[in-house]
């Protein structure tokens, strides 16, 4: 693959086809209103939550709860949170689960996808069926719980990491992408004496950055968002991931009782602290997602159409 540097030519203005009738004013306005509302429905709550988390106690009291129009920046909520305690610890646990989990899951998925990408290999048909079947039959809750606890994974991060470490959907996406790589490239590598591991590392992976990025994001989001597995498998509250802490702050309305004690205060969290926890839960997703989003159509669609 050679990289050619092309000067960005000014994008030609998209134009309506000559045969297409001009849209009516009402139609245009209605569409703009609908799309605008949709975009606002996502951005507005984010804005309110962000502003409230950076508001002082008085601003919040004056507004009567949530703050829409910012008045000054007050970082005291974040200072309280980062002084240590339940939220800080949960953020650490979640980061650990996300980083280790994504690394493991990507490795397992990429290896399996490559291993299943050559139709004439030994046991191909049976293995493929074996890997695809869980797409139709979900692992049932009760036996899964018994298996995980039976393996002694309870109250460890492995209970959160291992069960979702291979998702059939992601496997199909990656495999579809691998199968789209020209066979000649792989053959030439083999003729040059590369074995399969080498081919995967040197030829296939460098060509698959987009799909790896997308699937990596999917796994990372799964691990960052893990909540119910933590309800099932994590009883010790100093092992809670962030979603469980968020739940106890926002939906149950009080800070979880921690063994260590955050700041010794057991008052219900203030509105600013609650919203700061929301912001900290959203932030990693919002930070990473836009960079990977442009690959979605390319990466996801191959799998979606084939699967």
């Amino acid at each position: 693959m050679t990289t050619t540097i092309t000067r960005k030519s000014p994008r030609p203005r998209a134009r309506r086809a000559v045969w297409e009738e001009r849209p009516t004013l009402i139609g245009q306005a209605g569409k703009a209103l609908l799309l605008g509302l949709l975009v606002l429905s996502v951005l507005f709550p984010l804005w309110v939550i962000l502003v409230t988390s950076f508001s002082s106690r008085e601003t919040i009291a004056n507004a009567g709860g949530l703050v829409v129009i910012p008045r000054g920046v007050d970082t005291s909520a974040y200072e309280v949170i980062f002084a240590g305690g339940a939220v800080t610890r949960a953020l650490w646990i979640s980061t650990l689960v996300t980083v280790i989990g994504t690394a493991i899951a990507l490795t397992v998925t990429v290896l399996a996808a490559y291993g299943l990408s050559r139709p004439r290999s030994l046991g191909y048909r049976w293995l493929l069926a074996y890997f695809l079947l869980p797409f139709l039959i979900y692992p049932p809750l009760v036996p899964k719980y018994l298996v995980v606890t039976g393996l002694g994974l309870k109250d460890t991060i492995w209970a959160l990491i291992l069960p979702p470490a291979i998702s059939v959907f992601n496997l199909v996406v990656v495999r579809g992408f691998f199968q789209g790589i020209p066979q000649e490239l792989l053959d030439s590598a083999r003729i040059d004496g590369a074995n399969d591991f080498r081919t995967l590392a040197r030829i296939v992976l460098p060509l698959s950055r987009a799909v790896i990025a997308v699937v990596g994001l999917f796994y990372a989001v799964t691990y960052w968002n893990v909540w119910f597995d933590a309800v099932l498998f994590i009883d010790r509250n100093d092992m809670y991931p962030i979603q469980r802490v968020l739940q106890s702050y926002l939906l149950a309305g009080q800070a979880p009782k921690t063994s260590g004690g955050a700041s010794g205060i057991t008052m219900p969290p203030t509105e600013a602290i609650k919203m700061a926890v929301v912001v900290l839960t959203v932030a990693p997703i919002v930070a990473v997602y836009p960079f990977i989003q442009r690959h979605f159509v390319k990466g996801v669609l191959i799998g979606a159409i084939k699967g």
Binding site: A14, W19, E21, L34, L38, V39, V42, V48, I49, G65, V68, T107, V108, L111, A112, G115, P119, L122, Y124, R125, L127, L128, A129, Y130, F131, L133, P134, L136, I137, P139, P140, L141, V142, K144, L146, V147, V148, T149, A165, L171, V172, R175, G176, D196, N225, W227, F228, L246, Q247, L250, L251, M275, V278, V282, I285, Q293, V297, L301, I305, G307
Partner: protein, 346 residues
């Protein structure tokens, strides 16, 4: 499950069962098979051992966390007692087999039928009020002229898909809850705030609104791709023949989307008994069991939460079997309508 049930991602030739009648024309898989016989198993093992090694980690994980639990479903036929022995395996060996006793109890349990009814009602409701929305949104986005504006809207509307349900429900509580922004504004205006988050009567609308907010944007991806494959010349020819905007939509756009719509409809019907789990578990306390219990939360509450494992496993197995039948039936209907479905038997 036999190989022929592998989804279409497998490609059609590999998914053919041994001994299926070959098509009349040239048959590459069969030629391949004959070709393969000449190579001995040992030679193939030497050739492919690296591929097998690559597959191994995924194989083991699926074995432990998917296949063993699927087989573990048999505790539905036991009076499973977790306190027998030191670990679940010993407890399983020592527990008594009671046949269909758990199922009998299950079918006599009004709470189970409540959950069943709620699940079906929510599925039906969302099929009408959620399913068409991504299609409409995709068409609207597709017709935007400015690609920059389209990209911006897509970026924004995809985002909530990546939020956890805890986060989504937290957003709704912050906006519509008793202490939320809407209630706050209404109180200032001097009116009694609406009860949105804890009202069991409107719960079905609430959960649908949450699901729409989370996934309507994400749902457009598949439709946008399908829209971009429709031949533009068809539109031009139709317009030349005097077809108006709505006429073209009805006669070109929607038929172009038909395979995708049918596929997603099948998947949704096959999943009719799952309506989202965390979403309901999170809001169960706020609106009460009567309105919010669905089959998945029923399984959880009547097994792990209360220690009655065999009973929960029976409910879970019942759901899984019905679900599998639904997806097979839906797929067959799709074949009869001449669509591809999720897997093909050719």
């Amino acid at each position: 499950m036999r190989t022929r049930h592998a989804p279409a991602g497998a490609g059609t030739d590999q998914a053919r069962p041994r001994g299926a009648s070959p098509p009349a024309t040239f048959d590459p898989p069969r030629a391949r098979r004959a070709d393969r016989r000449r190579v001995s198993l040992r030679a193939r093992l030497r050739r492919d051992w690296q591929l097998l090694a690559m597959v191994a980690p995924g194989f083991v994980i699926l074995l432990i966390f998917s296949y063993v639990p699927i087989l573990g479903n048999v505790i539905a036929f036991q009076d499973y007692n977790p306190y027998l022995g030191d670990n679940p395996l010993e407890a399983f060996v020592q527990s008594n087999w009671i046949g269909f006793g758990q199922f009998q109890l299950l079918f006599e349990d009004p709470a189970f039928w409540d959950a069943f009814r709620n699940t079906l009602a929510i599925t039906a409701f969302q099929l009408v009020f959620f399913f068409p929305l991504p299609i409409a949104l995709a068409i609207a986005l597709h017709h935007l002229l400015s690609s920059r504006l389209r990209g911006f809207i897509q970026t924004v509307v995809y985002l909530p898909h990546f939020f956890s349900w805890v986060l989504v429900v937290s957003f709704f509580v912050a906006m519509f809850g008793g202490a939320g922004l809407l209630a706050q504004t209404m109180r200032e205006a001097g009116t009694e705030p609406w009860n949105i988050m804890t009202n069991p009567d409107t719960f079905i609308i609430l959960v649908t609104a949450e699901a729409v907010w989370k996934d309507v944007g994400w749902g457009t991806i598949v439709f946008l791709a399908a829209l971009s494959t429709i031949d533009q010349n068809l539109y031009e020819a139709a317009a030349a023949d005097g077809a108006g905007r709505w006429c073209r939509l009805w006669h070109i756009t929607l038929p172009g989307l038909r395979p995708v719509i049918v596929l997603l409809l099948i998947l949704r019907l096959g999943d009719a008994l799952s309506v989202g789990f965390e979403q309901f578990l999170l809001q169960r306390e706020a609106v009460g069991r009567q309105a919010s219990e669905v089959l998945d939360t029923f399984v959880y509450h009547f097994s792990i939460a209360t220690g009655n494992y065999g009973y929960g496993a029976a409910a879970g197995l019942f759901k899984a079997v019905i679900g599998l039948c639904l997806i097979l039936a839906a797929n067959r209907v799709a074949h009869m309508l001449g669509e591809r479905g999720i897997y093909s038997r050719s």
